[in-house]
C-alpha cells in the first residue's frame, strides 16, 4: 500500500467557461490519500462543476488538472434511469467493475441495503438509491472517491450515520475523498480541509478556519454560521444573489 499523504489529484487554477459564462474559476486544490476535502457553497456556486473538473469530465478547461490514479469511484448528485432499461441493484453494482458476489453483498451490508440486492433500481426510494450509489462506490475499493451531495433524500439520523460511514471508508480504504455538502456543521468534525466556493474560492482551510472566516459568514448568513462561531467583521465586497461580486461602498 502506498503511503499516506500521497497526492491523488491536483487542480491548479482550474475553471470552466460554458456559453460565455464562467461556471467556476480559479480553483486550486489537492486531494491526498486518506484525507477528506469538503466543498461547500450556495446553489450554483460551482461545487458540482469543481467535482466534475476533478473527475476529468470537462474537455476544455482553464488551468490544469493532474491525476495520479485511475481507481476512481463517483457518486453523482442524481442519476436518471430510463424506464426502457431493466436493471437490478445487483447489475448496477457491477456497472464499471467485475465484483464477486461476496464483495457486492459486503458493500450493500455496510450501507444497510442488503435486502435490495435483487430489487429493480427504479423501484427504490430516493434514500435507498443514495445508499446503493454509496455501496457501489465502496465496493470498487477506489483510491479516489468523489461524493456529490451523498446525503440527499436520507433522513437526519441516516445523514449522520452516512457521514460516519464516509469517515470510516476514508480510514479503512485509505482513499482520498472529495465531498460536496451544503451543510458544514454536520461534516465539520470529519473533514480535513474545507473549500468554500462561490464561483471562485471564497476561502479555504480547516473547518474551524472556514467557519470563522468572514466570507463564509457573509455567504451563509450569520444565523447559520453562529452555530460555529460568533465573529463580527466588516467586508470590502458583497456577494449578490446571482453570484456576482460588488464592491461595498463606505
Amino acid at each position: 500500500m502506498t503511503q499516506k499523504n500521497q497526492t491523488l489529484v491536483k487542480l491548479e487554477n482550474a475553471g470552466v467557461l460554458i456559453n460565455e459564462k464562467w461556471l467556476v474559476r480559479g480553483v486550486s486544490l489537492e486531494i491526498k490519500k486518506g484525507k477528506i476535502i469538503t466543498l461547500i457553497g450556495p446553489n450554483g456556486s460551482g461545487k458540482s462543476t469543481t467535482a466534475k473538473i476533478t473527475l476529468g469530465l470537462y474537455k476544455d478547461i482553464e488551468g490544469r488538472v493532474e491525476k495520479f490514479t485511475n481507481k476512481i469511484a463517483y457518486v453523482p448528485q442524481k442519476i436518471n434511469i430510463d424506464w426502457t432499461l431493466p436493471i437490478r441493484v445487483n447489475d448496477f453494482m457491477n456497472l464499471t467493475s467485475n465484483l464477486k458476489k461476496e464483495e457486492v453483498e459486503a458493500a450493500l451490508e455496510i450501507t444497510g441495503t442488503p435486502h435490495l440486492k435483487n430489487k429493480d433500481l427504479k423501484s427504490l426510494s430516493g434514500g435507498e438509491f443514495q445508499r446503493v450509489l454509496m455501496a457501489r462506490a465502496i465496493a470498487k475499493k477506489p483510491e479516489l472517491l468523489v461524493l456529490d451531495e451523498p446525503v440527499q433524500g436520507v433522513d437526519f439520523n441516516g445523514e449522520i450515520a452516512l457521514y460516519e460511514l464516509i469517515k470510516k471508508i476514508s480510514d479503512t480504504l485509505n482513499c482520498g475523498i472529495l465531498l460536496i455538502s451544503h451543510n458544514l456543521h454536520v461534516v465539520m468534525s470529519k473533514t480535513d480541509h474545507v473549500v468554500c466556493l462561490n464561483g471562485h474560492v471564497c476561502c479555504s482551510g480547516t473547518p474551524i478556519d472556514v467557519a470563522n472566516n468572514e466570507k463564509y459568514q457573509e455567504l451563509f448568513g450569520k444565523d447559520i454560521s453562529k452555530i460555529l462561531s460568533v465573529y463580527e467583521h466588516s467586508h470590502d465586497h458583497i456577494h449578490k444573489i446571482d453570484g456576482t461580486i460588488e464592491k461595498k461602498e463606505n
Binding site: 466534475k52 473527475l55 485511475n70 476512481i72 442519476i79 426502457t84 431493466p86 437490478r88
Partner: protein
C-alpha cells in the same frame, strides 16, 4: 439443401435475428430508434453507389451509413439543433440524394420495391456467408465492448468519471449499427430493418427485469418472428419481409398480457 430458396431464407433470417436481438436492446435503451431509421435511409445512397461502381452492396452501404453516422456525431457537437432535427435532416436529405442519383442513372434497371422492402426469398449462398460472417464479427465486437457500452448507456458521466471512455465506445456502437443495416438491407429492405431491431427488443422489455434476460428474450423474439414470418409467407403467399415484421408485432402484443399481470402483482 442450400439449393432450396426457403432454407437459404431461413438461414439468413436466423443469422440476422441473432445479431439484431442484442443490438436492438441497445437501440431501445439508448433511444436510438430514429437513428436506426436515418442510417437505413442513407443506405439507399449506398445501394446506388454499389450499382454504379459494382462494389459489393453490403460494403458500399456500410461505408455510406458509417459516414452519415460520423457526420451526425460531428453536427451534434457543432450545432445547437436537437438530435431529432439533425436526424431528420440527414435521413431525408440522404434519401433524396439517393433517389436523385437513381434518376440520373436512367439506363440502369432498378427494383425500388425490392430495396424498400427487401426480398429474403431471393438470397444466394453468398448472402448467407455475408450475414453469418459479418454477424459473427458484429457480435464479437459487441461482446468485447459490452461492459463500457452498457455503463455509458446507464449513465454517461459515471462511465466517463470511472475511466470507461464512453465517447469511443458510442462511436464503435454506431459503426456496428451501420454494419448490421448493411448486411441485412437486402433481406428486409431499408424501410423495415429498424423494425427488426426495435420490435423484438420492445417485446423483450415487457418480459424482463434485468439486461441479460432482455437480450436473450430479444434474440428469441427475433428468431420466432423470422421463422413464423417466413412460414406464413410460404403458406399464405404474403411478402416475406413484411410478414417477419408483422409476426414480431404479434409477439409484442402477446407480451403485453404478461406485463399487465406483472404490474398487478406489484401493486
Amino acid at each position: 439443401m442450400l439449393d432450396d430458396f426457403f432454407v437459404r431464407a431461413l438461414l439468413v433470417g436466423i443469422g440476422m435475428a441473432l445479431v439484431t436481438g442484442p443490438l436492438g436492446c441497445f437501440v431501445v435503451w439508448r433511444r436510438l430508434s430514429f437513428f436506426g431509421d436515418t442510417l437505413a435511409h442513407s443506405a439507399l445512397l449506398g445501394v446506388t453507389l454499389s450499382y454504379t461502381t459494382e462494389i459489393n452492396m453490403a460494403i458500399s452501404v456500410f461505408v455510406i451509413s458509417s459516414i452519415v453516422a460520423l457526420i451526425l456525431l460531428k453536427l451534434q457537437k457543432k450545432t445547437n439543433l436537437p438530435a431529432d432535427a439533425l436526424l431528420g435532416l440527414l435521413a431525408h436529405s440522404s434519401l433524396a440524394i439517393g433517389l436523385v442519383v437513381i434518376g440520373l442513372l436512367a439506363t440502369i434497371r432498378f427494383d425500388l420495391m425490392g430495396l424498400l422492402f427487401g426480398d429474403i426469398l431471393a438470397v444466394n449462398v453468398n448472402d448467407i456467408a455475408v450475414v453469418w460472417i459479418g454477424g459473427a464479427i458484429i457480435l464479437i465486437v459487441l461482446k468485447i465492448i459490452w461492459k463500457p457500452l452498457f455503463a455509458s448507456t446507464v449513465n454517461y458521466e459515471l462511465a466517463e468519471a470511472e475511466g470507461m471512455n464512453p465517447e469511443k465506445y458510442n462511436a464503435i456502437f454506431t459503426i456496428l449499427l451501420a454494419a448490421i443495416i448493411a448486411i441485412s438491407i437486402k433481406m428486409v429492405g431499408l424501410l423495415l430493418i429498424t423494425g427488426m431491431l426495435i420490435i423484438p427488443a420492445a417485446m423483450a422489455r415487457n418480459l424482463s427485469d434485468n439486461p441479460n434476460q432482455m437480450v436473450i428474450f430479444s434474440i428469441i423474439g427475433g428468431l420466432l418472428s423470422v421463422i413464423i414470418g417466413l412460414f406464413a409467407s410460404l403458406e399464405i403467399n404474403t411478402p416475406s419481409g413484411p410478414s417477419i415484421i408483422t409476426s414480431g408485432l404479434i409477439l409484442f402484443i402477446l407480451s403485453l398480457t404478461k406485463i399487465k399481470k406483472k404490474s398487478q402483482l406489484n401493486n
